[in-house]
């Protein structure tokens, strides 16, 4: 008999397609077998998610006391999240998880290493607390600086005031958070420019949003507001342009994806600035009234000042230099000769910038090739941006006439996690200043601008550094956020950095720091010779190097506070509290601190932990009784919650949030830039960061102390040091900032490597043991090496092939994922896979630990880790290759 072929078959299908007769029992008897009562004793708890740092409202359902489901809290819709992400939904499975640490563990094997079995021994809580407290007391009496406290996610579980108070009571300056492994450089760029950090696009009104490196459909802080607010804005007609080398999920929602070459964003932004200036899309009034763009700059880069030290501008009416506050008709542009105050040849800061663009021939045409884009595209985007800015227009809201500039640039880790992260984002801020979009309706709304004016002053370039992470020292003069990845590099060789004490004890609270950053294996070396304690819910890689592991409770078992994520229209505070206690763990994090302080003798009395908490939070009504010895987490959080919201914790537990309010038009648009920087008598936004010139001059006096480290980090010779510092501390972004060390030195490594966050793992170190997060998507349990098919084809690599990826630091294996959503000269790998801890099951260990091979050239300004600067070779793994 002849086989029926596929062709025969499809032909048959075609013939019969329209000849069918339907006879369906449409209303069959409904499914009913119900005999027993359904869902006895169901309870709901309105709380706050701590699976990442968005602090979304959740509504936790229990059945007979058992966690049954997590839903969004409807009441939080108006303030932040309208739904939850899969991490939030799956939080149950971090609480109900057999891979949690359930009892205190003590290491019996003195050797620490990836392949060393710690030989854990279960010990009692009392023994564990006594031992750890004993160590703290002993080192405290010797030199408390030798104790280093680390928190990452721990900050967000509790709020970091508690931990800062704990460290302060011990007497150590070493409390190390993690911002430089995420977006720290963005904060520093903001701080040196406008005096504080964090900003959001005013999405209710924005008409043109250019996202450069924000990955908020997958991860990021504010993700759960930005995602739906962006989509709402798009439905209203906003154009979304996403500039990034890898098509992220928010890129997938864009009207236009602009796949720029990694590290070249500063060129794109400078070229945009050139177009905006040339085409006249300049908000002169904003630049003159709110920024230091008209300040006169001397030949040495410092501000021209009068005899009393007031910055000068050029007054067109009198054709001469006058202090800003006295000027009537200020020149934005121009080169002048100041004979009045003997400053000589001067230019406005704006003119310095404009001249730089012209002299260096920065234009879309000139940078297009380097950016890997067409000049036409860059120019068109610049013009669209300028046109959409609607410069000069106002809008009337709530009876107030407000500046209306409905364009915004948003950014996050993608753009700033680089050696020149701070300077690159400075370029973004300058572009927005040019059109006047800062704190305008539809522009970007700044968070408490001008709050910390010291951020806008030169650094003292502390040397020797007081802190192990070298924060604010001559190594990282403007690192106002903790330099997360540096601490463990410093620990084994403190004298190299001028530190005159040797760390002896490291305590890690809910952070897997050494796993999560550049040269990860080298990071672990920093743990080998100290006494380490981990307060953690699972056996993380960091815990694997601990001497004592103290189990913690999860956010569904414990109290915790954090200020809710602010959004343009609302503010709130968030709370979570115990709903279950799965493994009968007696203490939660903050209680462990109380118990340790009690046993180490620094809980009570003046200068004790409780006293320091009162001081750290400026508690007033009520405050802690500094002689009480048995505070519980509930009692402590009650005091915090009352101080933050005026309500008792019992009130807070009813909603899971409190102190909420909608902001008025006045608060939203008139209390920031308008109040702090507008006109005479006010500080000015730093179009030109003259404080960096000041810092440079201080740093040069201390260069001998830091030069050996700089030579190592930035691969320069003695003769190149001055030029290096000139580039690093440039008061304006420059094209040099598109050429980090690794790009200049890795000449034999053809592909750019970028790393990124994924929804299923980011921002909390224990998602790898969450089975739902591993199964929620077809590729959620592992990461891949994203390669463009054109590149893969040239390298004979097929989708799913094992490949070797090699940088100057080392090489490792991964699985190729062929995708058109990546530049052909770039590969991308998410950076939170490849766990190896012996406390994890095999299914939680998949993927490539890319952090192992990332180069380390920190951003000198901010201390930001260089996550996105490495260059690599890719090749197909050969048979027999180990």
């Amino acid at each position: 008999m002849k086989k029926v072929t596929r062709r025969d078959f499809l032909k048959l299908a075609g013939v019969l397609a329209s000849a069918s007769v339907i006879n369906v029992d449409l209303f069959a008897e409904a499914f009913r077998k119900e005999k027993n009562a359904l869902e006895t004793s169901v309870e709901y708890f309105k709380s706050t998610c701590k699976m990442c740092v968005n602090f979304c409202g959740i509504n936790v359902k229990t059945e007979n006391g058992v966690l049954r489901a997590i839903y969004p809290d409807e009441a939080r819709r108006d303030y932040y999240n309208i739904g939850n992400c899969p991490k939030g939904i799956s939080g149950i499975w971090n609480t109900y998880n057999p891979y949690r640490v359930k009892v205190p563990l003590k290491r019996r094997n003195p050797n620490k290493g990836i392949n060393e079995d710690p030989q854990w021994e279960e010990i009692s809580w009392e023994e564990a607390l006594k031992e750890v407290a004993g160590r703290i007391a002993q080192i405290k009496s010797d030199d408390p600086r030798k104790i280093i406290w680390y928190h990452g996610h721990g900050k967000y579980l509790l709020h970091d005031g508690w931990m800062k108070a704990f460290a302060s009571a011990i007497g150590t300056p070493n409390v190390v958070h993690r911002t430089t492994v995420c977006e720290g450089a963005k904060h520093v760029a903001d701080e040196i420019t406008w005096g504080y950090h964090e900003f959001l696009p005013d999405l209710e009104y924005t008409n043109y949003l250019k996202n450069m490196g924000g990955n908020y459909a997958e991860a990021d802080q504010w993700a759960r507001w930005l995602d739906h607010a962006t989509l709402d804005a798009k439905e209203r007609g906003m154009k979304l342009v996403v500039v990034e080398p890898r098509l992220s999920n928010i890129g997938a929602k864009a009207d236009e994806w602009v796949p720029i070459r990694p590290g070249k964003d500063v060129l794109f932004l400078l070229a945009m600035a050139r177009v905006l200036i040339d085409e006249g899309y300049i908000d002169k009034n904003f630049l003159i009234t709110y920024t230091n763009a008209p300040y006169l700059i001397k030949g040495d880069g410092t501000l021209a000042k009068d005899n009393s030290g007031n910055p000068l501008v050029w007054d067109i009416d009198i054709n001469g230099p006058v202090p800003y506050d006295n000027a009537t008709n200020i020149a934005l542009e121009g080169s002048f000769n100041d004979t009045v105050y003997a400053n000589g040849e001067v230019k406005t800061a704006f003119q310095v910038f404009k001249d730089y663009l012209t002299t260096e021939n920065i234009s879309p045409e000139a940078v297009a090739e380097e950016c890997g884009l067409s000049a036409e595209q860059i120019r068109r985007i610049a013009i669209e941006f300028g046109q959409s800015a609607s410069i000069g227009s106002t809008i009337n809201l709530d009876g107030k006439t407000l500046r209306y500039r409905p364009v915004a640039i948003y950014t996050f880790r993608g753009l700033v996690a680089k050696e020149y992260g701070t300077q690159t984002w400075r370029a973004g801020l300058i572009v927005m200043m040019l059109v006047g979009a800062l704190d305008a309706v539809g522009g970007v709304l700044l968070h408490e601008p001008g709050k910390s004016s010291e951020y806008m002053n030169p650094s003292s370039c502390e040397y020797p550094p007081s802190r192990i992470d070298l924060k604010k020292s001559a190594f990282f003069p403007h690192a106002t956020h903790d330099v997360a990845q540096q601490a463990l590099f410093t620990v084994p060789e403190p004298s190299k950095y001028g530190i005159n004490y040797t760390p002896e004890m490291q305590i890690f609270f809910a952070t897997n720091r050494p796993f999560s950053t550049s040269k990860a294996e080298l990071q672990l070396e920093g743990l080998k010779n100290t006494y380490n304690v981990a307060i953690e819910i699972s056996m993380s890689e960091t815990a694997w190097f601990a001497d004592i592991v103290l189990p913690d409770k999860t956010y569904l078992e414990a109290y915790g506070y954090y200020g809710g994520r602010w959004v343009p229209h609302a503010r709130h505070h968030t709370l979570h509290y115990p709903i279950v206690n799965t493994y009968n763990i007696p203490y939660q994090n903050i209680e462990i601190l109380v118990e340790l302080a009690k046993r180490a003798g620094f809980l009570t009395g003046s200068g004790g932990f409780l006293d320091k908490i009162n001081a750290e939070y400026k508690f007033s009504n009520p405050n802690l009784d500094i002689n009480k010895t048995d505070y519980t987490a509930e009692q402590l959080m009650d005091v915090l919650w009352r101080n933050k919201t005026g309500q008792s914790i019992d009130e807070g537990k009813k909603k899971g949030f409190g102190g909420e309010k909608f902001v008025t038009v006045d608060e939203r648009y008139l209390k920031g830039v308008e109040a702090k920087f507008k006109g005479a008598g006010k500080a000015k936004i730093h179009f030109y960061c003259d404080e960096l010139v000041g810092t440079k001059n201080v740093l040069l006096t201390k260069l001998n102390n830091v030069k050996e480290v700089f030579k190592e980090w930035y691969e320069v010779t003695d003769g190149e040091l001055n030029s290096l510092i000139e580039t690093k501390l440039s008061p304006l972004p420059r094209k040099d900032h598109a050429y980090p060390v690794s790009y200049r030195k890795s000449t034999n490594y053809p592909y750019y490597l970028i790393t990124f966050k994924r929804m299923y793992r980011n921002q909390s170190g224990y998602c790898n043991i969450n089975p739902v997060l591993n199964q929620v998507a077809h590729d959620a349990d592992t990461n891949h090496i994203w390669i463009n098919p054109e590149t893969a084809n040239a390298l004979s690599i097929k989708d799913g092939d094992a490949v070797i990826i090699e940088s100057r630091v080392g090489e490792l294996e991964g699985i190729a994922k062929l995708t058109e959503g990546i530049r052909p000269d770039t590969v991308a790998v998410s950076y939170h896979y490849g766990q190896w801890s012996g406390g994890y099951p095999d299914w939680a260990k998949k993927g490539t630990w890319i952090n192992k091979i990332l180069e380390y050239h920190p951003d000198m300004l901010s201390g930001m880790n260089s996550f996105n600067d490495t260059k690599v070779i890719i090749r197909k793994k050969q048979g027999g290759e180990e």
Binding site: A17, S20, I22, V24, D25, L26, F27, A28, E29, A30, F31, R32, K33, E34, N36, L38, T40, N64, V66, L67, R68, A69, I70, Y71, P72, E74, N81, I82, G83, N84, C85, P86, I89, W93, P98, A217, E218, D227, H228, L231, N249, A252, K253, W257, P259, T582, M759, Y760, P771, V772, Q775, V776, A777, H778, A780, N788, T819, E820, G821, R823
Partner: protein
């Protein structure tokens, strides 16, 4: 009443919160998701798009699975007054004819009653008698999305069917968790329901029309639709 859903693929960010919510809600057996997200890449670099299409049972007006089930004589699959297609585990014989007939690949055969961890958690220990019948899963039967019938049924019992798709308590878990509001559930027969209005305003389409099963989930911009 014909319950159905609108999924706005222009809004979906591919987060899979809907998948996770379904897993919690419906006592997920590893390997047997009732909902999953198809990820598509369209075009060539640099003109490339990525699209996310969440898939679950379409609760067809003329379900192929039911026809197959009736054909073998099991009569385990029914469609109720609300248009919800449900498998009765007590009647299912595990023949999997329904699995082979569904054009959308949504039916899952239960080979083992595995839990997320080899060690059972308090969640896994929730006794069957305390579970809704749609959650009393059995080996050698077939399972699939029920439109969260245990939630819809509550609305029916409470006499609040008008709140289906409006009140979270009476709405499928996958719909209420969506962080970007890409999912709307409700009565397709009611022209004033949110789901009907969104389908109309977005010109939403159904997938694989040519199988003639009359599915009840509508999507924006999906090729292969009507």
């Amino acid at each position: 009443m014909r319950l159905g859903r609108f999924i706005d693929t222009e809004r979906c960010i591919g987060c899979r919160a809907c998948v996770a919510a379904c897993m919690n809600e419906n006592f997920y057996i590893p390997g047997n998701p009732w909902i999953f997200v198809i990820e598509e890449e369209i075009g060539k670099f640099p003109y490339v798009k990525r699209r996310f299409v969440p898939m679950n049972c379409m609760h067809c007006d003329e379900p192929a699975c039911k026809k197959a089930c009736d054909y073998v004589g099991a009569f385990a699959i029914s469609k109720n007054e609300q248009g919800v297609v449900i498998i009765d585990y007590e009647k299912c014989m595990g023949c999997r004819y329904c699995v082979t007939s569904c054009p959308y690949g949504v039916l899952q055969y239960i080979e083992e009653l595995n839990t997320l961890f080899s060690e059972k958690t308090p969640y896994d220990e929730i006794p069957y008698e305390n579970r809704h019948p749609v959650h009393r899963k059995k080996i050698n039967t077939v399972e699939k999305c029920t439109f969260c019938w245990h939630r819809i049924e509550k609305a029916v019992k409470d006499g609040k069917t008008s709140e289906i798709g409006v009140n979270p308590e009476y709405t499928p878990a996958c719909d209420i968790v969506c962080p970007v509001g890409a999912r709307v559930f409700g009565d397709l027969d009611d022209p004033n329901s949110e789901v009907s209005k969104r389908i109309l305003s977005k010109s939403a389409k159904r997938i694989k029309k040519h199988f003639g099963t009359k599915p009840k989930i509508y999507y924006t911009i999906v090729e292969g639709g009507e």
